[in-house]
């Protein structure tokens, strides 16, 4: 059997984390993963300065800035892979930050894994941006885009490297702030301002909750008297009492959920993703949401470690709800970027299913199963970054070409955008969880993890978890309906809009980036064993068990988690099988040169076919809307305009459809109403008269004096 690269890499001696626990002794002769990553993150400052000094609108500036960011991202990914494949853990203390509160950084397997995800996707997206940003209109603030883009990417790397609460929160806020300005990119449009405001509010509510959770954990680990508890090491050393641990968990879980877009905290996603430039949406959806996943994994499995099973059940249930509701919302959309944003809600749900299961298995002390479930969740995290990045880049290329986001104005673009269509098709197949691409592998692993539930001692869980598998199957089926609709309406059929002839294919930079992402999707789909080998060090550190002892039994061609008797899947063989059969059939049928005659569409002899008779995005989803419509607030009206001679011949009929989120009415509307009510009451105090305000100050002073 051919030994793949990963096997050779893992066979290297593993360094103990204690020996490499070095302080900031910048020994440049020996480069190590953490130094490489710090240097690469520092390199992101170059394009920022470049853009500020020279100005962003010139084509050369754009090329240089984004190639520097691409290289920096790539080297961060390499650093992450280095740490991951060699099982290295390194720590470093930077002499910046507040006095006596330096920044601690740590590169271990988990952060290495997320560095690989962020690095790979931001490498692709940076290449893409060279073409995309260059093609933007000159009125738009390109300089601001370059500056905040680089800050955003660099901040994401720092978040996963952070090893203390202060550094984590600072990087987290830089990430949120930079992305706020990116969402605000087209600040002339009220849609952008509204989305950015909503995004800022949600980001800050989340950040405050995470801050509070850090407060709880740091306070419990070193007492509330001194500051040393702010490092994650101090928290890691502590066995939290269940009460405090639960408080911390609920706080950070809600905080991270707001970032990840877990239902019901998802409302900002479908607003913010569509208005941001597409390269930024690709990063926000592909990796920024994953940083929140990183947070959940880091604090639950690495820092708190011991917890009751219902935490996992909570995560699992929210994951299932997000998955099903997210995909149904996506199916109802006809704005391409909004559709992709809702589909991120779905995928975050699938990731949380894996993580929640892993938490349940951990709390019942079943480490092998916990590893499988966590690997499933993390694998989907990586896959989603790749295919959602690809799809958002594709959406960018489409919007660039058509100047519209409404799918119902497109159609037939496969002839105008041949490259984009193929690459978008790869993304669509991957995200629908269909073999041989990558989305299938992680969903398959999640199914396997769900089917392990009979080993649980809890009767209720045994029964309910397989029902979760049915919901996951429903999600996967609805996802493929969603992407049949998306691809079909955008690329197939006849053009529904008017500007077909102005549509041109995207430039080489955008195409190359999308090709790389599509190639990654295929590789992760057919070579899962190698990827899981890399991920094994994570589970080995967190649970003390590895998966590859069983997953590699048949060699790298077969993926056999837990036990080859239980289940096996061979991506390469399936792919080769389909290719071989298809090509043999093709060759056999073309031995006798059969003619292909092109003719007008038959359509059962129906005449005068026009593009309005095609199914569009709204009509495609009608049957499913009818079945699952009770989950939404749907307003549907058909108004027939005044007839002329006979009611059977209406002049014009109007169809009106509005689909709204029930959660908005249930949760957000009341909060907004209460805030307005309170502010109206508070405004009674304000009259704009100086003497009244002097009386307020006077009364305040009197009260304070009396109390002291």
């Amino acid at each position: 059997m051919i030994k793949p690269l990963a096997f050779c890499l893992t066979k290297k001696p593993r360094y103990s984390s204690a020996r490499l626990n070095e302080k900031l002794a910048m020994d440049f002769t020996m480069i190590s993963p953490i130094k490489l990553s710090i240097l690469s993150i520092a390199a992101f400052i170059i394009p920022v300065i470049f853009a500020i000094v020279i100005g962003g609108s010139r084509r050369l500036t754009i090329y240089i800035s984004f190639s520097v960011s691409a290289l920096a991202s790539l080297s961060c990914a390499i650093a992450g892979l280095w740490a991951l494949s060699n099982g290295i853990t390194q720590q470093l203390t930077l002499p910046i930050g507040l006095p006596a509160l330096p920044f601690h950084l740590r590169l271990d397997q988990l952060s290495g894994f997320f560095m690989v995800i962020i690095g790979l996707l931001s490498f692709y997206v940076s290449i893409y941006s060279m073409g995309y940003v260059g093609g933007l209109s000159r009125e738009l603030p390109t300089r601001r885009l370059i500056v905040f883009y680089n800050l955003f990417v660099a901040a994401m790397f720092v978040v996963v490297l952070a090893d203390d609460a202060l550094c984590f929160l600072v990087a987290w806020e830089v990430m949120a702030g930079a992305s706020y300005f990116l969402v605000m990119f087209e600040d002339g449009r009220s849609e952008s301002r509204r989305a950015a405001y909503l995004y800022m509010v949600m980001a800050h509510v989340g950040a405050v909750l995470i801050l509070l959770s850090f407060g709880v954990m740091a306070g419990v680990s070193t007492g509330f008297e001194n500051f040393t508890g702010y490092t994650f090491d101090a928290m890691r050393a502590m066995d939290f009492p269940v009460k405090w641990a639960t408080a911390a968990f609920l706080l950070y879980f809600i905080g991270f959920s707001a970032k990840a877009g877990v239902i019901p905290l998802h409302v900002w996603l479908p607003e913010a993703h569509p208005v941001a430039p597409s390269n930024v949406s690709a990063l926000m959806s592909g990796v920024m949401l994953k940083i929140a996943i990183y947070g959940i994994v880091r604090f639950t499995f690495d820092i708190i470690r011991v917890y009751p099973w219902w935490w996992g059940a909570l995560v699992l249930v929210l994951g299932l709800i997000s998955a099903v509701m997210g995909v149904l919302f996506a199916l109802m959309q006809h704005d391409i970027k909004k559709l992709l944003a809702y589909s991120s809600v779905e995928n975050v749900g699938i990731i949380l299913i894996g993580i929640g299961l892993s938490m349940i298995f951990t709390s019942f002390h079943l480490p092998v199963m916990a590893s499988l479930a966590l690997v499933a969740g993390l694998y989907h995290t990586m896959n989603h970054a790749m295919f959602k990045g690809l799809l958002f880049m594709g959406a960018g290329a489409i919007v660039h070409a058509v100047h519209d986001r409404k799918m119902d104005n497109m159609g037939g673009l496969i002839r105008r955008l041949p490259w984009t269509s193929v690459l978008f098709l790869v993304g669509s197949i991957s995200i629908s969880g269909l073999p041989p691409f990558n989305g299938f592998v992680s969903e398959w692993l999640t199914f396997q993890a769900l089917l392990l539930s009979p080993s649980l001692p809890n009767q209720l869980m045994k029964l309910l978890i397989p029902l979760g598998a049915a919901l996951l199957a429903l999600t996967a089926a609805l996802a493929s309906a969603t992407f049949v609709k998306t691809f079909g309406v955008i690329f197939l059929g006849n053009n529904r809009g008017a500007n077909q002839h102005e549509v041109t294919e995207s430039g080489w930079a955008m195409r190359i980036a999308m090709m790389l992402a599509a190639f990654t999707c295929l590789c992760f789909g057919i070579l899962p064993t190698i990827v899981i080998d890399w991920m094994d060090v994570i589970t080995e550190r967190l649970f003390g068990t590895k998966l590859n002892t069983t997953s590699g039994v048949y060699g790298w061609m077969w993926l056999t988690p837990v036990d080859p008797e239980r289940a096996s899947y061979s991506g390469p063989l399936v792919l080769i099988g389909i290719i071989v059969v298809c090509s043999i059939t093709y060759l056999l049928l073309h031995v006798r040169a059969g003619n292909i005659r092109r003719a007008p569409v038959w359509d059962c002899g129906f005449q005068k076919l026009n593009h309005k008779m095609q199914y569009n995005a709204i009509s495609f989803s009608m049957p499913i809307r009818r079945i699952f419509g009770f989950l939404f607030k749907i307003k549907e009206q058909i108004r027939v305009s005044p007839q002329q001679r006979h009611p059977a011949f209406p002049v014009k009929s109007n169809y009106y459809l509005r689909i709204r989120d029930r959660f908005w009415g249930w949760i957000y509307r009341p909060i907004v109403d209460i805030v307005f009510l309170l502010s109206r009451k508070a405004s009674l105090l304000q009259h704009g008269r100086i003497h009244l305000y002097l009386i307020y100050s006077f009364v305040t002073i009197i009260v304070l004096l009396a109390m002291l």
Partner: protein, 315 residues
């Protein structure tokens, strides 16, 4: 020499799938004619249809893209690949470990994905309608079929088909309530998946009720032949899947000539019986309205869930 032996079994199985699938469809059609008091065209009629279509030229719509031309090959290709994996004549298939039951369902879903795209490719109302309905039906059948399969796999602690077959075959014949419920659910779902009568009508044409036929309306010549052959194989394989999960007796455990010929004998018997059952269902029922399907498939899902509950409570 041992590997040659495995390859021989594999090739034999593919041949059987390719050859028997049209005969099975012909058998069902023939029985249906008889049950309705008509004279039938004979078991081999599907062969004649396919052969005729292969000889004919292709008439392709002017605006058809490569998706439209690629889909027939892909649909046929996935069907054949699945045919290599399901244990039909022997348990020890060389390729069986490369795909478990979830992969099989997903491969069929991939084929359906492309069929639906091909339906939308020409830009007619029929094609879009077929695609939309097909995806709706799929979104309801997929959870139900996986639930039925999961009940079986919980019972055998595996999702690998060859392992499921071995467990049930070698484990002896025990009537388990969970398996019975799962089997009922499976039959209901397969009727929907294969596009048979209460859900879709394979003989329909030019009706607003059609689903599968609406998607392939624009196909002709060899493309149509491949699609029709592919869907016959699909029907055959779903039946074979049911046999593997619920009636595995007779599948060869060892690759000797004797065992294989016994298993061939059993295949003929089982498919003949399945044909009779299908015809009884189809002639006894009328085609359902599209939105009544939720009840039909909901019932299938409920049966599968009941099976699972039985597994946890009784066993």
């Amino acid at each position: 020499m041992r590997s040659l032996h495995f390859i021989f079994i594999e090739v034999l199985q593919v041949m059987i799938v390719l050859a028997l699938a049209p005969i099975f469809s012909g058998w069902v059609d023939m029985l249906k004619c008889w049950s309705q008091g008509r004279t039938s065209a004979g078991v081999l009629q599907p062969y004649r249809n396919i052969a005729k279509l292969f000889i004919k030229d292709v008439v392709l719509a002017e605006n058809a893209s490569w998706i439209f031309r690629f889909t027939p090959y892909f649909v046929f290709g996935t069907a054949v690949v699945v045919g290599c994996v399901i244990p039909i004549i022997s348990m020890n298939l060389f390729l069986a470990p490369s795909a478990d039951i979830i992969v099989i369902v997903a491969l069929f879903a991939t084929a359906r994905f492309f069929m639906a795209l091909a339906g939308m490719d020409i830009g007619t109302a029929f094609g879009g309608m077929g695609a939309s309905r097909e995806m709706m039906i799929a979104s309801l059948t997929e959870p139900a079929i996986l639930m039925a399969i999961f009940t079986v796999s919980l019972e055998s602690k595996s999702t690998s088909l060859y392992h499921i077959v071995q467990t049930f075959y070698l484990g002896g014949m025990v009537l388990r309530p969970s398996i019975v419920f799962a089997a009922i659910a499976f039959i209901l779902v397969v009727i929907a998946e294969a596009g048979r009568v209460p859900v879709d009508n394979p003989a329909t044409h030019l009706e607003l009720t059609m689903v599968h036929e609406a998607m392939i309306l624009e196909y002709s010549g060899r493309h149509l032949a491949l699609i029709q052959w592919g869907s016959m194989i699909r029907f055959f394989l779903f039946s074979a899947l049911g046999i593997a999960c619920f009636l595995p007796w007779g599948i060869a455990a060892a690759d000797t000539v004797g065992e294989i010929s016994v298993s061939l004998f059993f295949i003929v018997i089982k498919f003949a019986v399945i044909g009779v059952v299908v015809v009884l269902i189809e002639t006894g029922l009328a085609k359902m309205r599209l939105f009544r399907l939720t009840e039909f498939l909901g019932a299938a899902f409920l049966m599968a869930t009941l099976g699972m509950i039985c597994f946890f409570i009784l066993e």
